[in-house]
C-alpha cells in the first residue's frame, strides 16, 4: 500500500488509476449493500442482492422494503455525497485553497431561501414544489454572484469568493427573517438547514440525478487542466490552458451540482470540504485520480452517514447533516492539527 501514500509517490499510471478506482467501487458497493440491509426491519444480504438483481426469488415484503423504500434513499445519499465531493474538489483546485467547499459560492443559501418560501407559503407541498423552488433560488444566486464577480470579461477568483460570501450572508438573513415570520414551520426549516435525506423519492432522484451526473462528466474531462491551474493561473496559461474558459465552465459545473444537490437534500455540510481533502491526503493531488476517487468516496461516506442517521435512534431519525458535521468537524480539526 506504501506506493499509494502521498509522501513518496511516483506519477499516476493507468494501471494504478484503474486499481484504486476498482477498490473504491467495491467499497462503495459494500456500503450500498449494508445500507439496503439495515434499518427498522433487517433484510438479509441474500434478499437484498436478490431484490436488486432478480438472481434468486425474494419475499415480496422484503423486495418492497429494499427497492421502494431504501433504494431511492441510498441512491440519493450517493448522489449528494458524490456530487458535493466533486464540486468541492473542483473549487479547491480553481481557488487553490484546500478550505474551499461547494457552499462558498453562496448557492446553498439561495436554495434554502427557495425551499423555505415554498414551505412557508404552500403548506403541504408535493415532492416537486420544494425542490423546484430550491433550484430556482440556487439559480438566482448563481446568476447574481456571477454578475457581481464578472469584471473586464472574466471571473476574478477573489471577487467571486467575496460575492459568494456576501450574497450567501444576505440570503441567510432573509431565511432567518422568513423563518421568524412563519414560525409554525420552524421544524421543517431547521431540518432543511441541517441537511436531510428523509424526503428521498424517485421524483427527487429524477430531478437531481441526471443534472448532477451530467455536470460531473466535464469535471472528469478537465482533470488534467485542474492539475495545471492548481499550480497557478499564469503557469496554466503558459502551458496552453484557456484559463478563463476553464474557470467559467468549472464554476458553472460546481454551481449546477450544488444547486441540484441542495434542492433534494438541503444543506449537508462538511462532505464537500472533507472528502476531497481526505482523498488528496490518501492518494495525492493528481486530479485524474482525485476527482473520480472523491466521487466514489463521497458517495460511500454519505451512504454510511445516512445509514447511521436513520438507525441510531430508530424508529426516529436525525438529519444526516448532523451526522456529517459530528463526524466531519473532529476529523477535519485532527487533520489540520496533524499538518
Amino acid at each position: 500500500m506504501n506506493q499509494f501514500l502521498p509522501d513518496r509517490r511516483s506519477p499516476l499510471t493507468p494501471r494504478r488509476l484503474a486499481f484504486i478506482l476498482g477498490v473504491l467501487t467495491a467499497i462503495l458497493a459494500s456500503a450500498g449493500l449494508l445500507a439496503l440491509s439495515v434499518g427498522s426491519v433487517a433484510v438479509p444480504f441474500r434478499a437484498v442482492i436478490g431484490s436488486c438483481t432478480g438472481l434468486f426469488p425474494v419475499d415480496s415484503l422484503e423486495r418492497l422494503i429494499v427497492i421502494d423504500i431504501r433504494l431511492p434513499r441510498v441512491l440519493l445519499a450517493f448522489l449528494v455525497g458524490a456530487g458535493l465531493s466533486v464540486a468541492g474538489a473542483v473549487l479547491q483546485a480553481l481557488l487553490r485553497n484546500p478550505l474551499a467547499e461547494p457552499y462558498i459560492l453562496g448557492i446553498s443559501s439561495g436554495g434554502t431561501m427557495g425551499t423555505i418560501l415554498a414551505i412557508a407559503l404552500a403548506s403541504g407541498i408535493g415532492h416537486i414544489v420544494a425542490p423546484a423552488a430550491s433550484f430556482a433560488g440556487s439559480a438566482l444566486v448563481m446568476l447574481l454572484v456571477y454578475a457581481l464577480a464578472h469584471r473586464r470579461g472574466q471571473l476574478e477568483p477573489y471577487t467571486l469568493l467575496l460575492a459568494g460570501v456576501m450574497v450567501g450572508a444576505f440570503f441567510n438573513a432573509l431565511v432567518l427573517l422568513t423563518v421568524a415570520l412563519f414560525n409554525q414551520e420552524l421544524r421543517n426549516a431547521f431540518l432543511w438547514l441541517m441537511g436531510n435525506l428523509s424526503g428521498a423519492s424517485m421524483d427527487a432522484l429524477l430531478i437531481a440525478g441526471p443534472l448532477t451526473l451530467l455536470a460531473t462528466i466535464p469535471a472528469f474531462v478537465f482533470a488534467r487542466q485542474y492539475n495545471l491551474i492548481a499550480t497557478g493561473d499564469e503557469t496554466a496559461l503558459q502551458l496552453g490552458v484557456d484559463v478563463r474558459a476553464l474557470r467559467r465552465r468549472s464554476y458553472a459545473i460546481a454551481s449546477i451540482i450544488t444547486g441540484a444537490v441542495v434542492s433534494v437534500s438541503g444543506v449537508v455540510g462538511f462532505v464537500g470540504l472533507i472528502i476531497p481533502h481526505v482523498t488528496r491526503m490518501i492518494f495525492g493531488p493528481d486530479h485524474r485520480l482525485l476527482i473520480p476517487a472523491s466521487f466514489l468516496l463521497g458517495g460511500t461516506f454519505l451512504i454510511l452517514a445516512d445509514t447511521l442517521a436513520r438507525t441510531i435512534i430508530a424508529p426516529a431519525e436525525i438529519p444526516v447533516g448532523a451526522v456529517t458535521a459530528v463526524i466531519g468537524a473532529p476529523v477535519f480539526i485532527y487533520l489540520l492539527r496533524r499538518r
Binding site: 492539475n227 503557469t235 502551458l239 496552453g240
Partner: protein, 259 residues
C-alpha cells in the same frame, strides 16, 4: 535572425498610466538576453507580453516572423515556456508530477503521459539537479529547490524560447550560478533562446550575450554587457553610484555599488 520581435509595444494596467511605452526589441535565435532595470520599470510586464499572458495595447509581437496574436495558446506553449516569479504550492504534487506537467502542450487530448514524456522529465530533472527529489512533494522543498523544479518543468516543454522572471530570486549563490550556467549552456549547446529578468547585474554581465536595460517602461539601452553597464547609465537609471571594472576571472564588466 530574430526569433521574437517587439515592435513599438505600449501597455498599461491602469488607463493613463503606461507601464510600457513604445518598446521595440529584437531577440535573436539562440541568444541569452537578460532584462534588467529598477523595480517597476516594466521588465516582468514585458516578459508576460512576450508570452501573450497580457496583450499589448498598441504595437505587435512576432514569433518566428508570425504575429503572436495568430497563435493558439497551445501553439505558443509548444514554442515558448515561461517561468513566473510567484509559483503557488499549496497542493503536494511531487517534483516529478510538476515536471511532467511540462509535457501538457505536447500531449493534449491524452489522459496520461507516455514513456517518452517521462524520459524527457527525467532528463530535465537531471539538468536542474533535482533528480534525487523526484518523489518528494514540492510543498516540502526549499524555495530554491522548488524554483529548480519549475525551471525543469519549463524545460520539459522543450521550447525554442525560454522566458524566466527572476529565476535566481530564492537561490543561494552556488545555485544562482548553477542556474545561469545551465541557461548559458542550453543556449550555447542546444540553440535555446533565453530571455531572463534579473536584478543581479554581475550575473547578467557574466552569462548573458546581451542586456536590455529598462527605465520607466522604455528601453534605456540594449547591447553587450560592456556596452550597457556603464557608470553614467547606472547612475541615470538606478540612481546608484557604482564603479565598473573588469571581472577578475572573466571577460565581463563587474559592477560594485558605492552608495
Amino acid at each position: 535572425m530574430a526569433v521574437l520581435t517587439v515592435d513599438n509595444v505600449s501597455f498599461s494596467y491602469v488607463a493613463g498610466i503606461p507601464t510600457l511605452r513604445n518598446v521595440s526589441l529584437a531577440v535573436h535565435r539562440g541568444e541569452f538576453l537578460t532584462l534588467v532595470g529598477p523595480n517597476g520599470s516594466g521588465k516582468s510586464t514585458l516578459l508576460k507580453i512576450l508570452d501573450r499572458i497580457f496583450l499589448p495595447d498598441e504595437g505587435n509581437i512576432a514569433l518566428d516572423g508570425t504575429p503572436l496574436a495568430t497563435f493558439t495558446r497551445a501553439d505558443i506553449a509548444r514554442k515558448m515556456a515561461y517561468v513566473p516569479q510567484d509559483r503557488e504550492g499549496v497542493f503536494p504534487f511531487t517534483v516529478e508530477e510538476i515536471v511532467l506537467m511540462g509535457r501538457a502542450p505536447h500531449t493534449a487530448g491524452m489522459v496520461f503521459e507516455g514513456e517518452g514524456d517521462r524520459e524527457v522529465a527525467r532528463k530535465m530533472m537531471g539538468l536542474t539537479d533535482i533528480g534525487h527529489l523526484a518523489s518528494h512533494p514540492v510543498t516540502n522543498l526549499s524555495g530554491g529547490e522548488r524554483q529548480r523544479a519549475f525551471i525543469a518543468r519549463a524545460l520539459a516543454q522543450q521550447p525554442e524560447v525560454l522566458l524566466l522572471d527572476e529565476p535566481t530570486a530564492h537561490l543561494d549563490i552556488a545555485h544562482q550560478v548553477d542556474i545561469f550556467r545551465l541557461l548559458r549552456s542550453l543556449s550555447v549547446d542546444t540553440g535555446l533562446t533565453v530571455v531572463s529578468v534579473t536584478h543581479d547585474l554581475n550575473l547578467a554581465a557574466m552569462y548573458s550575450d546581451r542586456i536590455a536595460m529598462l527605465q520607466c517602461g522604455t528601453i534605456a539601452a540594449a547591447g553587450t554587457p560592456s556596452e550597457v553597464l556603464t557608470v553614467d547609465r547606472i547612475r541615470d537609471v538606478f540612481r546608484a553610484e557604482v564603479v565598473v571594472d573588469l571581472h577578475p576571472a572573466a571577460t565581463a564588466p563587474r559592477v560594485t555599488v558605492l552608495r
